[in-house]
Amino acid sequence: MINPHPGLPEFEYIKPTSLREASQFLAQHADEARPFSGGTDCFVRMRDGVLKQKYLVDIKGLDGTDGISFDPKTGLTVGAAVNMNRVAAHPEVAKHYPVLVEAARSVASYQLRTRATIVGNICNASPAGDTIGASMVLDGKLHVFNAAGEREEPLSTFFKGPGKTTLQPGDIVTAVMYPLPPQGHKARFIKLGRNKVSDLSIVAVTVLGYPDSNAKSGFCFRIVLSSVAPTPLVAASAEAILADKAISEATIVEAAQAAMDSCKPIDDVRSSARYRQYMVRNLTRQAVTDVWSQLQ
């Protein structure tokens, strides 16, 4: 029987006073502790019994992780504790990274986005993570703190499977950093859900294009597909076609087909695998066509 009022299972709430303390605790309790910020994914999965943790470590706002800043020379830094509404409302983000705003605003509802964070969305490593595609086409990098040393992780190699990343016990992602987007870039995010808004995606496609004199076609495209593979997927073969051949409707159709051929979706409650494949083709074609029309 379904419990109509499922409370959270028992756990201990830990609020460290510094990143170092948090990292040490997480490393010492590797299998029992999990960091959280907004908790929007973590609480639901604990309630459903999918996640079983003895400790939840609240890392919100430790050592200045609640800041968002834009530097016209280096780009955008979004702290781990910055919620999605703050990202979407930031004037410099809207001006320079509109596709990130579009992606953030597609997540669930306004009141959930008061809690949800982009760093959390990335670290949960769901293939359906709505802000991951935009973060990848924008060439995002994570800043990772560990009591044993700090490092940067590019998103291109971060994801290892559903919920699996390169993060090790004691690692805490403190921020996601986006360089300045390429000159003259245009981008588009298309999310297909079971309803118009608020749902998880059946398929999502994020496309960013910009003029590039190194490419034979004169343009470079970055394409990321969501919900169609164990990790967010870069459609490399489609990108190569758009870089190598003069761009026309036929080239875009060929690239969209290549994107479809590169994905490996599954059947689940939201959609069949076959439907997802065709939607990858159609939405890639639509998104690339939109971006291309803006680039000309």
């Binding site: 009022h5 499922p6 409370g7 959270l8 299972p9 028992e10 756990f11 201990e12 709430y13 609020k15 907004g38 908790g39 929007t40 609480f43 639901v44 309630r47 939840l56 609240d58 919100k60 509404n85 669930a108 509802s109 306004y110 009141q111 959930l112 008061t114 809690r115 808004v197 608020s198």
Partner: protein, 159 residues
């Protein structure tokens, strides 16, 4: 499981509450402070029946731990009216017939108040977008949206 003593301002009143780690803000409001206007619907951050204002921004109170609210200021549906005077959103929702069974209403009111606080003259699309996370299975939303529109015309008052 450890208990944590927190200090929280709820509807303008300072409260000191002992809460276990796994207690949500929703459970604390209903079970410790007897503020049962805030409803438990899905307990998974989807239906919006438990929406409250936390430090001025709407949150799903089922998705916030009570212990995280130490030092926070929370407004529930009970805190929308002042001196027996209903908030314009409450008045206009009644006027428009935007309440049927009433279960979603507290969440709708809080989300609408939050919208009008950040955007006093929203378009219909903006109203609908702000209420995406508040499910209503009775009304079909039309009268709710009408009520919020009228409340915006009447003028807002920050909760």
């Amino acid at each position: 499981m450890a208990y944590h003593r927190i200090t929280i301002t709820v509807n303008g009143s300072d409260e000191v509450v002992d809460v276990p780690s796994n207690m949500t803000l929703l459970q604390m409001l209903r079970e410790k402070l007897s503020l049962t206007g805030t409803k438990n619907g899905c307990a998974a951050g989807e239906c919006g029946a438990c929406t409250v204002l936390m430090n001025g921004e709407p949150v799903n109170s089922c998705m916030v731990l009570a212990v995280e609210c130490d030092g926070a200021s929370v407004v529930t549906v009970e805190g929308l009216s002042h001196d027996s005077q209903l908030d314009p959103v409450q008045e206009q929702l009644i006027e428009a017939g935007g309440v049927q069974c009433g279960f979603c209403t507290p969440g709708i009111l809080i989300s609408s108040r939050a919208l009008l606080n950040r955007n006093p003259k929203p378009s219909e699309d903006e109203i609908r977008e702000a209420l995406v996370g508040n499910l209503c299975r009775c009304t079909g939303y039309i009268r709710i949206v009408e009520g919020v529109k009228k409340a915006a015309e009447v003028g807002s008052r920050a909760a």
